[in-house]
Symmetry: C2
Subunit: 203 residues, 2 copies
């Protein structure tokens, strides 16, 4: 298999690198440069017509796009340590919190990113007003996670899971975009220190 | 367990109803009226602070929010027929296509819905221009799925899966919002007829 990777600050490839590091999986990889727009080159579009990284290409030619799909594939091959839960309630909680990170936080951070950041705001179809309107939504989303982290050490419960990987990579990308965690989010900041102290966070 | 449900056109509760019908699961349910804004009432917010339906409340008081999390919980309890795949490649393909429905289509339909539809466009923080800019994105997304349905009977391969449930409910909601499938999407229209002919689609 070959992992088509892009370096930080791209948040989605980093999810998979952290996931693989937590499992001790070595992924042969090839870099796709986003500043050089290599993800929009014809050869890459032939593999993923969405023109996004990461993808995982299997030896039989199958291409898996979407970071969470790649992580689920790796989980199926290497079940331990479980990152998507094992009991029905764990599986549900991890999916619920993962989706909340995507739907509440990542969607708002993405709106700020594409509509206001100098790297992308000049592309056609952008709307600066919509981007700015999403800054308070990002802050509200962080406060929602801060509140929920009162009760548990990790986002979906007592154990580190893929939900933490999604929140960590999104929070760090939000910081890069200029809409990072509010100062008053103490539970969230404590959680961020804990997960950033794991060796996998450097992946 | 008790399923807090909202009737059509709400797309997310319908996902779970279709999923349960495919598995032959009877879900005791209670209606939450979105026109009456019952999902924002204090008692409901105590169960799901996001103020969204559906949720599944377990007998021990655990609340599972997010339609896909509820479906994964039900899949863990009732594995047959498998809706999230069983082999690593099936699991990955179903997750990839499910996420593409959410990220490419549902996000654009949602942007049209909240920013342009009379039911929601008058709420604070809306942006009519952004809503209108998402109409062509909805059409592009439908064309992407149309192209992929050239090769397979169902969205993620030869078998019906949760990815089809997400696409069906989103396509029908898009139609309600006024941005339904373009006429030239023949593969998609054939697929829509096939999945709409399943008894579960009436759930």
């Amino acid at each position: 298999m070959l992992f088509y990777d892009s370096p930080n600050p791209a948040p989605n490839p980093r999810r998979v690198r952290i996931f693989a590091a937590e499992k001790g999986i070595e992924l042969p990889s090839q870099e796709v440069s986003i500043p050089k727009r290599e993800q929009k080159a014809p050869e890459y579009l032939g593999k993923n017509p969405r023109g996004q990284t990461p993808i995982l290409e299997l030896d039989d030619g199958t291409v898996i796009a979407e970071s969470v799909a790649i992580m689920r594939y790796l989980e199926a091959l290497h079940p331990e340590p479980a990152m998507f839960g094992t009991t029905p309630k764990e599986i549900a909680a991890i999916e619920m919190w993962s989706r909340r990170v995507e739907m509440i936080l990542m969607s708002a951070v993405g709106a700020v990113w594409v509509n206001t950041h100098p790297f992308t705001a000049a592309l056609p179809g952008r709307n600066a007003e919509w981007g700015e309107a999403n800054r308070p939504r990002v802050a509200d989303a962080f406060r929602f996670f801060d509140e929920s982290l009162k009760n548990f050490e990790y986002l979906a419960g007592p154990d580190f899971s893929v939900a933490d990987i999604l929140l960590l990579t999104t929070a760090d990308f939000a910081d890069f975009v200029g809409c990072g965690m509010p100062d008053d989010c103490e539970n969230l900041r404590g959680w961020h220190e804990r997960v950033s102290a794991r060796p996998s966070s450097k992946a």
